[in-house]
């Protein structure tokens, strides 16, 4: 859909009244492009804290990328909760653990949370502006660093957008290898998060074992793909390198080991009353609320939203893999934990199917050549959820505009709801069960 706007005062009707999930992106658009949502009550800046002045819009063509940042601090108007015994707990942007920066403002009575308001945008580093003028190879490299834990998903979505815009497709062997990488990325992230989820509920042994299994998994990545997190493996036109022959045996053997080790830990998690007591009924997002907010990906599936691009819009090779989607309706931390276990098992099954059926043939074709003004769209189901990349080509096959869309845009607001009525000490657990991206939405 193309919407033409008047040059002097560009605006469009407020979408957030129909789609509440659109609100933050509307505010981001106003900050970066100066295009306002008409009639929207919340016109506060979202991504602009103080690095550039009000009325200046960095994504406009006449704004030079090399403009030095301002060193101004901006005050943010949080919504205040008043009443007897209500007080605020400000947290961040620098958090107590090794996680990304953001600000959480809790309004509480005693230990009970009445309201959480998030203020993000701290890691805004001008990624969309940075894409301007890059060639496709540089673009794929940058796409793989929008959110480092989802590098395969972003790079693949970017390449699909570019290849689609040039009406070409990666060779079959490349598509298979991309899926192999994507499923390995999914498993790696779930392994890490399941460890932290155990730890956040006091089960340190879970963290110790899951992080050991994850480390083994990453070392296999290094050995087989040449990179622990598979960065720069997916490139425009295909993949960067082939797997060495003995690698297939290594990968196959590993699947069996990991399956049995994870199975043992799953039994431990499932049958640990103390752990389940912390997980069940904590941080609930009901299916109704999830539908209203557009909750997507893993968190959406745990709240009854049965969407997975690998099932509903399968790009090759998923069209031949028949992915079995796991869903739950409880929408609590326990459901999100259970889903992660199920998605690991399903990814291991997919990997087992992928390995023997790797098609022979070329690894990559020449990088697509894009005509000036063509548009491309790519989408991939990353471990968090659907990752979308939209691009517009400029002169000489360069990039004029790239918009990466992380599923966290839609899921962060749901976290504000999930914590209501829970106690403050359960926040890290609830937060980790979503594990949303900061860098991916701060851009």
């Amino acid at each position: 859909m193309v919407l033409e706007l008047p040059e002097d005062q560009p605006s469009f009707p407020d979408l957030s009244r129909v789609f509440p999930g659109a609100l933050r992106q509307q505010r981001a658009m106003a900050d970066l492009l100066g295009i306002a949502a008409e009639g929207c009550v919340d016109q506060r800046p979202w991504l602009r804290h103080g690095a550039w002045a009000q009325g200046v819009h960095p994504l406009r063509r006449d704004f030079p990328a090399a403009t030095p940042p301002l060193e101004a601090a901006a005050d943010y108007r949080f919504v205040r909760v008043a009443g007897e015994g209500v007080h605020e707990i400000p947290v961040g942007p620098v958090h107590a653990g090794t996680i990304e920066p953001g600000h959480f403002r809790f309004s509480v009575v005693g230990e009970r949370v009445l309201r959480l308001e998030q203020h993000l945008g701290y890691t805004h580093k001008g990624i969309e502006k940075r894409f301007e003028g890059l060639d496709l190879t540089q673009g794929a490299r940058l796409a793989g660093r929008v959110s480092g834990d989802s590098t395969v998903a972003f790079a693949w979505a970017f390449c699909l957008a570019a290849e689609g815009a040039a009406a070409q497709a990666a060779p079959a062997r490349a598509a298979w290898l991309r899926a192999l990488a994507l499923e390995r990325e999914r498993v790696a992230n779930h392994l890490g998060d399941l460890g932290f989820l155990g730890n956040d509920a006091g089960l340190g042994v879970g963290l110790a074992h899951f992080s050991r299994i994850k480390e083994d998994w990453l070392r296999t990545n290094e050995q087989v793909f040449g990179h622990r997190y598979l960065m720069d493996f997916v490139v425009p036109g295909g993949v960067a390198r082939d797997l060495p022959q003995p690698a297939l045996a290594v990968l196959r053997a590993e699947l069996q080991t990991v399956e049995s080790q994870v199975g043992r830990l799953q039994a431990l998690y499932d049958e640990h009353p103390g752990l389940q007591d912390r997980l069940v009924g904590t941080g609930v997002v009901s299916p109704g609320l999830a539908r209203q907010l557009g909750l997507c990906g893993l968190a959406g599936r745990a709240s009854g939203q049965g969407f997975d691009l690998r099932v509903q819009a399968p790009a090759p090779p998923y069209d031949r893999l028949a992915v079995r989607m796991a869903t739950a309706t409880d929408g609590d931390v326990a459901a999100r934990v259970a889903l992660r276990f199920q998605e690991i098992q399903e990814s291991l099954r997919l990997l087992r199917d992928l390995l023997p059926s790797l098609p022979v043939g070329p690894l990559r074709e020449e990088a697509p050549r894009l005509g000036d003004g063509v548009l491309g769209l790519g989408q991939v189901e990353g471990w968090r959820g659907p990752v979308l990349m939209a691009l517009e080509a400029g002169p000489g096959g360069s990039l004029r505009r790239v918009h990466p869309q992380d599923p966290s845009w839609l899921n962060w607001p749901a976290l504000e709801h999930a914590i209501i009525g829970n106690i403050v000490p359960d926040f890290p657990l609830i937060n980790k069960s979503f594990n949303l991206s900061y860098s991916g939405v701060d851009l």
Partner: protein, 170 residues
């Protein structure tokens, strides 16, 4: 309880020897004398600051705590507050919006203190560079003792960098 004990007994501890300090990663002349560094006696508290990273380096920092690298067995551990820290481990290009938080964290860390910048972004600004929203390298905002390149640097490289920061006379 029994399955947990069984699990622990069944699993061999995969601990590996730590790497040597890599003094080539040093960016400043040693600011702290051998005497001060000696007083750490190898025991170090670390505060991580994400100043605008893509979250890739954070994954490798997590890995330092796994059984292979076992950071705590070397006498080092991560702390929740800069006021408890000897060393700041800073990732990312410094985004304009994180500059104040980074400066405040640096000021809140008591002297004597060390700073290790992590990853290609921490070293030079990396793929994000300098822009309207990024100050680039960590050393553009606070003094950096050791800079560890890589995208992301491996846990061993990271460890070699941290060890270089506290190795006297390198």
């Amino acid at each position: 309880m029994y399955p947990i004990i069984r699990l622990i007994l069944d699993t061999p501890a995969p601990r590996e020897a730590p790497p040597e300090a890599d003094s080539s990663l040093r960016t400043l002349r040693q600011r702290l004398g051998a005497e001060v560094l000696g007083s750490f006696a190898g025991a170090l508290t670390i505060r991580h600051v994400d100043a605008g990273s893509c979250n890739g380096c954070e994954l490798e920092i997590h890995a330092l705590n796994n059984a292979y690298y076992n950071l705590e067995a070397l006498g080092m551990r991560f702390v929740a507050s800069p006021r408890h820290a000897d060393l700041l481990l800073v990732t990312g290009p410094v985004s304009a919006h994180m500059r104040t938080a980074l400066l405040r964290t640096f000021d809140a860390t008591p002297e004597p203190k060390l700073v290790v910048a992590l990853g290609d972004c921490g070293c030079t600004g990396g793929v994000f560079g300098n822009s309207y929203a990024s100050f680039g390298a960590v050393s553009n905002v606070i003094p950096v003792d050791v800079a560890v390149p890589g995208c992301p640097p491996s846990p061993r490289a990271l460890l070699a960098g941290i060890l270089a920061a506290i190795a006297p006379g390198s």
